[in-house]
Symmetry: C2
Subunit: 197 residues, 2 copies
């Protein structure tokens, strides 16, 4: 793009973004060029890194405070802690309206292939936190894929001498599903872990 | 997202972008939160609107200059002008390495359904430009869909008394295609407009 260094820089920056290829980047540039007010987006991005911090307790995100709104909330259920992979998972679980305990964000899962080891997650801090507080149960709301399972097993091993129950969300058939659309493995799990009435 | 107004604002701004739904917006926020340096992107966005202008001649984009790099280039073929829908189309045509004339950007196509009328495009300026200069041929590199065809017809009508040849890029089978993958209409056009050796 001869003679248009600013547009070229913008394309370059946009193409770095996850899920944004050359055509999407072009669409975004065309949109930005037609949009009057880019001050909001620009200012949010420039403030983001110094205003957003990690909660000192659960490692979720906070804006300029030491504790997030969940850790600050003394009225929540102090018996329960729910471990998640990413901060956004907290909001998904909260939105179910079922869980009233506290959270802990690992910021990833163990993955030797991707060079993610225990020290790269907040596992040490999780242990210190459980030793310090009086949680009765820890729910590992981690994806049930290879790396998630590995991480869950690591945690279970790491906490086995502690007096805390460890659980994981039930695997099974999604509500309202047609049995014929459920994959074999999930169906097998659902039969194996059937619930009684 | 309780207690996180900055992140909420960022999600809101991102979801406005074309091709960005809630899941993509979330991915982008997660990426931005992990990225150290957002100053480049932020500064480009805040500078974009006041640094990018439209070329006074062809209405392509320029950075703080009156004329774009093509219009400024006196060595180009003064007999040819190529009309395009959007500024990005110029770079696509240039990259073919075949066209050496000048360009003109309409910034859209006629579309009564979308309230885009002749006055919303740079048609008047195109006519003034052709009357002023000595172009021998005008290539309408406009999409061959309903609105593109309508726009091309409008231009042809509007210029019919002028001494300028009007052409459109050939419709036909893309190079290297398997005949069995070409749709009927395109194949029909290719047979009708066959070239001779």
């Amino acid at each position: 793009m001869k003679g248009l260094p600013l547009i070229q820089s913008l394309m370059f920056e946009l193409k770095k973004l996850p899920g944004i290829g050359p055509r999407s980047a072009e669409r975004l540039v065309q949109y930005f060029l037609k949009t009057e007010d880019l001050k909001s987006l620009s200012s949010i991005l420039s403030n983001l890194n110094h205003k957003i911090k990690k909660c000192k307790e659960c490692f979720s995100f906070t804006e300029e405070k030491d504790l997030c709104s969940f850790c600050e909330d003394d009225s929540r259920n102090k018996d329960l802690i729910c471990v998640v992979e990413q901060a956004f998972d907290i909001f998904r679980i909260e939105n179910c309206g079922i869980f009233k305990g506290y959270y802990h964000v690992l910021h990833g899962v163990l993955s030797p292939l991707n060079h993610i080891h225990p020290k790269d997650l907040t596992l040490k801090q999780l242990k210190e936190r459980v030793l310090k507080k009086s949680f009765k149960e820890m729910i590992l709301a981690i994806d049930s894929d290879l790396e998630g399972d590995t991480t869950a097993l690591y945690i279970m091993e790491s906490f086995k001498e502690l007096d805390i129950k460890i659980s994981r969300p039930a695997l099974g058939i999604p509500l309202g599903s047609d049995l014929s659309f459920v994959d074999n493995k999930t169906l097998g799990q659902a039969i194996e872990n059937r619930s009684y009435f």
